[in-house]
């Protein structure tokens, strides 16, 4: 695994750029632990100060230092994405591997349900969810809801890999060597599935962050937990653009775009790496 990472860094520019972008964003999020102010305190600094040496990203109309506020917001946003991705990974992996390994009717039934979840428009459902939850809406609840709705596309990808692994002869060799199903799935199949799990994780984080930002900006989430979306929501509430407080919008949008592109580049480069044709080019023998 270490060699793969070094290879990717050295020879795949997309991967390198993606990693650098993500490192910037992550480093910024880690700064939140050194923040002089708690995230939800307002009017701790003079409001509406443009970026300067004292306040590198300016301050908001609510008297918050945008730099430090942003570190909390991006941290929560990333954490949200990772939580959704982890939970939905669990669903996608289990459903994908089981459908692929069992095949037949199990596979057909699971994939029909799977395709349903791919097609259903999720945004209205999430809005409906917020509508009935209102003040009970929390960060964790939304993550859980999105994980339950967002596993399907990746399960399909994992399933197609698992399906082809199931029909490969070395799986049968494993069975007739007395290996258990767990041993075959974990030792023989997982190495093939992991790269695709990795790349879908990146894409899934992107997807969930995107929806979270959208819902937050509209005010359809818990607006007391600082995230990038909530930050923009408050900026909009204070008509920051009209008032000329451009930095309040500019920095969060810039940061979240860096995160999106970084994650996406990692996913794309990983996809290229697992593409059988490029794999052929570097295998020996």
């Amino acid at each position: 695994m270490g060699r793969i990472l070094i290879d990717l860094l050295r020879f795949n520019r997309q991967f390198a750029v993606g990693l650098v972008l993500l490192a910037i964003v992550l480093g910024f999020a880690l700064l939140s632990f050194f923040s002089p102010y708690p995230p939800n305190d307002s009017f701790v600094v003079p409001p509406d100060v443009p970026p300067s040496w004292a306040y590198p990203m300016g301050t908001t109309s609510r008297g918050q230092d945008l730099f430090w506020l942003l570190t909390f917001s991006i941290r929560n946003t990333l954490l949200f994405g990772v939580t959704v991705a982890l939970i939905s990974r669990l669903l996608a992996l289990v459903i994908g591997l089981v459908a692929g390994y069992c095949g037949g009717l199990v596979d057909r039934a699971l994939m029909s349900i799977n395709d349903t979840f791919i097609v259903i428009p999720l945004f209205p459902i999430l809005v409906l969810f917020y509508f009935v939850m209102k003040d009970h809406m929390s960060w964790g609840l939304l993550a859980l809801m999105m994980a339950c709705l967002g596993w399907a596309y990746d399960a399909r990808l994992i399933r197609s890999v698992a399906l082809s692994l199931r029909t490969r002869e070395f799986t049968e060799t494993g069975i007739f060597s007395g290996m258990s199903m767990r041993q075959i799935l974990v030792e023989e199949h997982l190495p093939y599935v992991l790269p695709i799990v990795f790349s879908t994780t990146m894409n899934n984080i992107n997807w969930s962050i995107g929806l979270e930002v959208t819902l937050s900006v509209l005010g359809f989430t818990d607006i007391n937990t600082p995230t990038i979306g909530v930050l923009i929501y408050w900026a909009n509430q204070h008509t920051a653009l009209v008032a000329g407080i451009w930095w309040w919008i500019f920095f969060p949008v810039l940061l979240v775009i860096l995160a999106f592109i970084g994650l996406f580049l990692l996913a794309v480069s990983m996809n290229e790496y697992i593409d059988p044709r490029s794999r052929l080019g570097r295998s020996g023998g």
């Binding site: 290879d7 050295r10 795949n12």
Partner: protein, 331 residues
Amino acid sequence: MSEPVLTVSGLRAWYRTSAYGVSREVRAVDDISLSIAAGEIYGLAGESSSGKTTLIKTIANAIQPPLEVLAGSVVFRFGDRPVDIHRISREALGKIRWKHLSYIMQGSMNVLNPVRRVRHTFFDFAFRHIGRPKPEFLQVVRDHLQRLHLAPDVLDAFPHQLSGGMRQRVTIALATVCRPEFIIADEPTTALDVVVQKGVLAMIHEIQRELGSSIIFVTHDMAVHANLTDRLGIMYAGRLVEEGRTADIFRAPRHPYTAHLIASLPRLGDTAPKKGLDGAPPNLADPPPGCRFHPRCPRASDICRREAPPMAELSPGHRAACFHPEPERPA
């Protein structure tokens, strides 16, 4: 004897890849010379990774990176003008393709466009060469199919509606509709069942005799070579090791590799014990020095380990690249 239709001289074609820091150089075709006369079926035999597929690609000028031609030439003579297929323009090549030089691929593969009716494929490949208005062109195609005992309705079919054998027959009809002088046939019967294979081979033979075309016929199946080809070239590890009239090679092979290959063929009705050959074909990214067969050769000596044996004519029309050839066996 008239000028050969195809002359390959000193051809060297290697694969050069570099991905994620691993560079490799596979010497798939290494210094090969041969020539093919008009109206001749020349068989090319060899195992996997012997370089026969690469040789064919190079002859057809289907060269895509990472394959590179490093040296040598491939010269066709259609009419009286020789053309080096690697050194002519795209337009000139387009005029030669299908009119003079056509190609039959392995039948199992997806050689016909899956979403296009057979009729349109005929238009794509042959219309510009035949140079007649549409209805007349279609009539030419229909007549040609009929000559090959194919029903004209195949024109309206999509490839998936035809059986494997039928698809291969359609491909042969497609490859011969412009009456080319030279046909490259790359494992055209390998994936077919024996019953179908026999019919397809008969079809190739029949149309070849009728058109008088030359064919270079590639397969690893020695039985096909025995029954179809006039002359035979044997490849091993990127090199031509023996060449001669098919009957001569089967009767008295001179290269130890060929000799073993022919002796170990299973025959229906024969239960005499057969001997296998030890070892494996070399890795072409790192071939052994000297004769590439020496690690597996029962007759190998010191010189075989040091020098590569040149191709030498051992009897009229029969060449082999070996320092210690098998003894000659008079007919």
